[in-house]
């Protein structure tokens, strides 16, 4: 673990330095976590809610962080779990099958006033949200964030081999979708 993170965690655990340290943590990681969440739920308002919930959870559970992994890996993990919980709650509310949240996400994508990409990028996003949930997360983390498989393995609690296979399948499916919609 980096020295800065170690110092930050030590300050977060002390009552008198906690608030300032937490503010520093938020400033350091808010953008990275925002984009990680945004690529999964696509809509800005949903992302904002999930990001706030993520940091609230971090605040509550910093005492249980065992420092076995990097701080940002732990934060990514909380953000990913919060996002999956959010999507599952949407499925339950809309009585959708367990893996099918693509219609909700498609609506998010097409109605998003903050989408600034071109037609090809819109097509890519449509292809991504047709993927199964796990493949979608793996593809976003690898393709856009260029995260290493070893780090992804810690975040998603999945073996490197399984992650490589998921990414490969995702790329194939996206390529197929683009080819078919040309």
């Amino acid at each position: 673990m980096e020295t800065d993170d170690r110092q930050l965690i030590a300050e977060l655990r002390q009552e008198n330095t906690r608030d300032l340290a937490f503010n520093r943590l938020v400033k350091t990681y808010q953008e990275r976590l925002y984009w990680h969440i945004r690529k999964m739920v696509l809509n800005h308002d949903d992302t904002d809610d999930i990001l706030q919930n993520t940091f609230v959870k971090v605040w509550k559970s910093i005492g249980s962080f065992r420092e076995e992994s990097k701080l940002y890996t732990w934060l990514y993990r909380i953000a990913t779990n919060e996002t999956i919980t959010f999507l599952n709650s949407k499925k339950r509310r809309n009585l959708l099958p367990f893996n099918d949240v693509s219609d909700y996400l498609m609506e998010n994508l097409t109605s998003d006033p903050y989408f600034e990409g071109d037609q090809l990028q819109m097509k890519l996003q449509q292809a991504i949200l047709r993927l199964p949930e796990k493949q979608r997360i793996v593809f976003n983390m690898k393709y856009f964030d260029d995260m290493k498989y070893e780090e992804m393995s810690h975040v998603l609690d999945t073996s490197v081999g399984a992650l490589k296979a998921s990414y490969h399948h995702a790329v194939k499916k996206i390529e197929e979708f683009i080819k078919n919609t040309d």
């Binding site: 984009w35 990001l51 990409g117 071109d118 194939k172 683009i178």
Partner: protein, 155 residues
């Protein structure tokens, strides 16, 4: 990248840019909005209780349970079934007496045991155990008339 170009040529042609935007000053204001939410969360968090009470809680709970069982079982039995309790208390006492006697016997060795057995019974003990003839005659003459004695011998 070359591998991606090979397996997904169309995908690799798409610009790898982030197509999403955020409202103006979103990241500048985020920590302030989060602080408001955290304050609200802190108010809803349960306050840490006194440590001593926290540790004593299971013991107190157990004691309360025993007290409750005592109230619900022993007290009604004592109130509504006094005869039953009297019997069980007698039984306990007699058991204790037996136990004491057995423990005395266990402490005696064999020689001592036979010495105790062969000792003659004292006069006092005979007097305690039964009546002397003179006492019996005195009791009969004081409490039973001659007519009643006659009736008893006739039957």
């Amino acid at each position: 990248m070359n591998k991606l170009r090979k397996i997904a040529p169309r995908l690799s042609k798409i610009k790898k840019e982030n197509p999403f935007g955020v409202p103006n000053n979103y990241f500048d204001d985020f920590s302030a909005r989060l602080a408001v939410k955290l304050e609200a969360e802190k108010k809803t968090l349960p306050q840490p209780k006194n440590t001593v009470i926290r540790y004593l809680k299971p013991v107190l709970g157990l004691a309360a349970s025993f007290a409750l069982i005592f109230m619900l079982v022993y007290w009604p039995l004592k109130s509504f079934l006094p005869q039953y309790l009297a019997e069980s208390e007698t039984y306990i006492e007699s058991t204790n007496e037996d136990d004491t006697f057995l423990s005395i016997l266990e402490r005696l060795d064999e020689t001592l045991f036979f010495v105790v057995l062969s000792e003659p019974v004292s006069v006092n003990e005979t007097e305690e155990a039964g009546f002397l003839d003179d006492e019996l005659m005195g009791y009969l003459s004081a409490n039973i008339s001659d007519y009643e004695l006659y009736l008893q011998t006739e039957n």
